[in-house]
């Protein structure tokens, strides 16, 4: 007797493979209630930087995820270049008028990296001066961009994200898109050298087009104490509707890590080593930007 085997009769109608994690709605509500109970009674942990993993996992990341998956359709490359454990410094280009690229990189490393790594961002002091934004940024794991904090996080084995271009990158006019600005004073390199953490260059393509900045209202910026006040084709012309970012197609590519441990911690005080490494990181990111731009078919697809 021949062995029984399954012959697909109508392959088109085959049920899709069961999704691994699709909790029923009542489980979701129960989880939400448990979350609420924890929040009201304060039974969650935060660290010395103000990072609140409970809030990040249950509120902030779920809020960012639709933007990551549907709106910008982010494609990540080279995630194997980010180590699974231990400290590393992710250095990326900064763009987009509002630092959405930092948030999307956080989602990318948490959702798509096999080790679900948390990216601890370094932000400018302006971020922490602004009410709500500063408090929320700390809860998401951001801390002040200074050597003390960067070295502390790296030596604790955290993955630290830094955008050395700062406001020069995020607030540059649309005409200068994808050209890297000056990389600060190389503080990030000395932090990596002191802790021996590898530097992972990261290129982000797509963020430049979300709010094309065609003008800068300097007077308004000065009045509000901001480094720039963006004028885009839709903002402030359309009011709050102008705050909706354009749905550009994004690529986030992590390059091969540049190791720093062999230089030794003393190299952090050698300006020539710091300058050379800074240039090397900058060149690597600029080249991967050009490569990704060639790969991209159009801005929105």
């Amino acid at each position: 007797m021949p062995e029984a085997r399954v012959i697909p009769l109508r392959p088109d109608d085959d049920p899709p493979p069961p999704r691994p994690a699709a909790p029923s709605w009542d489980d979701q509500v129960a989880g939400g209630l448990e979350f609420l109970r924890r929040r009201v009674t304060g039974e969650y942990d935060t660290d010395e930087f103000g990072f609140d993993p409970d809030l990040t996992d249950h509120v902030l990341l779920p809020m960012l995820r639709p933007w990551f998956e549907r709106w910008f359709r982010v494609e990540t490359q080279g995630l194997e270049n980010v180590p699974d454990t231990g400290g590393a410094l992710v250095v990326a280009n900064h763009s987009g008028t509002i630092p959405v690229d930092a948030l999307m990189t956080t989602v990318a490393l948490h959702d798509e990296h096999p080790a679900s790594r948390r990216l601890r961002l370094l932000g400018a002091d302006l971020v922490f001066q602004v009410p709500f934004v500063g408090a929320l940024a700390r809860k998401l794991g951001t801390t002040l961009a200074c050597n003390e904090d960067a070295e502390r996080l790296l030596s604790e084995g955290e993955l630290v994200g830094v955008f050395p271009e700062g406001f020069k990158g995020v607030g540059k006019p649309f005409s200068e898109r994808y050209t890297l600005q000056r990389f600060g004073r190389g503080g990030f390199v000395s932090a990596a050298l002191r802790t021996g953490a590898p530097i992972v260059p990261c290129a982000i393509v797509g963020a430049e087009e979300i709010y094309p900045m065609i003008g800068n209202a300097r007077t308004a910026a000065r009045l509000l104490g901001l480094p720039y006040f963006p004028i885009t084709p839709t903002f402030p012309l359309l009011g709050p509707a102008g705050l909706v970012p354009l749905p550009s197609k994004w690529f986030i590519a992590f390059g091969e890590p540049i190791e720093t441990a062999s230089y030794g911690p003393a190299a952090a005080d050698d300006p020539m080593v710091v300058f050379n490494l800074t240039d090397q990181v900058r060149e690597t990111i600029q080249h991967s930007l050009y490569r990704l731009l060639l790969q991209r078919r159009s801005v929105f697809s």
Partner: protein, 376 residues
């Protein structure tokens, strides 16, 4: 070598009294002399044991006589007032803090017997601003020098102590920078603030708070007095909580108030006697409650050699036992539990309805004939 004669200033307050009691219980110490401007409260007095109390103002020359005649060899200076209300106004607070310290140090410098000086300072010297690194080590300085108030006094006092240490290099000087103290017995800045049923907080800000349990504070002061560690040490528990989290854990209700309305809320709270005078609302305190401050305690644990028994969360929990919560955690648990059972019941009901209604619309079972093909 343990000290023979210890002088403790500010002995009438809880922390000073607790330290004096601890030292008096140590038979290796010959005499413990407590100094303060007001006599200690009866319950403090009961624990003081063989401590001799001298009612003296450290601003007066009397203190020099006490140090000279008793041949004091160890001075613990903790008579630094953090609140203008307790000291009778900002002017007298500053006078007590700064001039008092200068007098005390002048007396110490004169007396050849003095071998050791312990200063109870504060981590407020680091200030609190959005430009601060997350964690301060002893080597760091305030990015924005705190202007006025307690922090400014403490910075001045530390400056005087440093110059004293230069003039008397034979004296071992330990400067202890304490974080906010909390516990069931101590009356600190933060404990008064958190005792209010509704705690006003700055809208849009959430500070990181590092605490130290009162028992750990006494133990550190004792070890600094009898030990020989010199230099500056940050003293704080491990771990931090956010201010909002602390308020929730204590079962209080946070009332976020815009920065500009803070002054009005303060006046209102005073008028309806919601708060007593010890609750401090100086701009410096508000900055602390906006941005928070955390200190690194590696030196305390590794060089000074003391690991606090309570973490920040445990110290807060110990304090929580003494305040009746406004929002009881059991109540929150009951509410969410009830909501969960309602959800469970609704889900169960819906599933049952689904089974009945959906049964009719379910697609027809596969035709038996097809299975025969599969088996073939």
């Amino acid at each position: 070598m343990p000290p023979a004669v210890v002088l403790v200033t500010g002995v009438s307050r809880w922390l000073g009294g607790a330290l004096a009691a601890e030292l008096a219980a140590d038979p290796a110490i010959d005499r413990v002399i407590g100094v303060d401007t007001v006599p200690p409260a009866p319950d403090v007095l009961r624990h003081l044991g063989r401590t001799e109390f001298v009612r003296a103002d450290i601003r007066s020359p009397l203190i020099a006589k006490v140090i000279e005649s008793a041949s004091v060899d160890t001075v613990v200076h903790m008579n630094i007032s953090a609140t203008p209300a307790a000291a009778g106004g900002r002017v007298s607070m500053k006078e007590l803090n700064v001039i008092g310290t200068m007098q005390l140090l002048a007396a110490c410098q004169r007396s050849p017997a003095v071998q050791r000086l312990v200063l109870k300072s504060t981590s407020a010297v680091y200030g609190a601003s959005p430009r601060d690194p997350a964690v301060f080590t002893e080597a760091m300085q305030a990015r924005r020098v705190p202007a006025g108030g307690f922090a400014q006094d403490s910075l001045d006092i530390e400056g005087y102590v440093r110059s004293f240490a230069r003039r008397r290099p034979d004296v071992g000087v330990a400067v202890l920078r304490f974080t906010n103290l909390i516990g069931p017995r101590i009356d600190s800045l933060l404990s008064g603030f958190l005792r209010m049923p509704v705690v006003p907080t700055a809208l849009g800000y959430d500070a990181r708070v590092q605490l130290l349990h009162e028992d750990d504070a006494v133990a550190v002061l004792r070890q600094a007095t009898v030990g020989d560690h010199t230099g500056t040490v940050n003293v704080g528990a491990s771990g931090t909580v956010l201010l909002s989290q602390a308020i929730r854990r204590l079962g209080r209700v946070a009332l976020p108030v815009p920065q500009s309305a803070m002054g009005g809320v303060r006046k209102l709270a005073r008028r309806v006697r919601l708060v007593d005078g010890s609750v401090e609302w100086s701009p410096e305190q508000m900055r602390l409650l906006n941005f928070g401050r955390v200190v690194d305690t590696r030196v305390l644990r590794e060089e000074f050699g003391y690991t606090p028994r309570y973490t920040t969360a445990e110290a807060l929990a110990d304090y929580a036992d003494t305040v009746a919560p406004v929002v009881r955690p059991e109540f929150v648990g009951d509410v969410t539990g009830a909501a969960r059972s309602v959800v469970g019941a609704v889900a169960g009901g819906l599933n049952a309805v689904h089974a009945v209604v959906g049964g009719r619309h379910r697609p027809a079972p596969p035709v038996p004939g097809l299975r025969a093909v599969r088996d073939a």
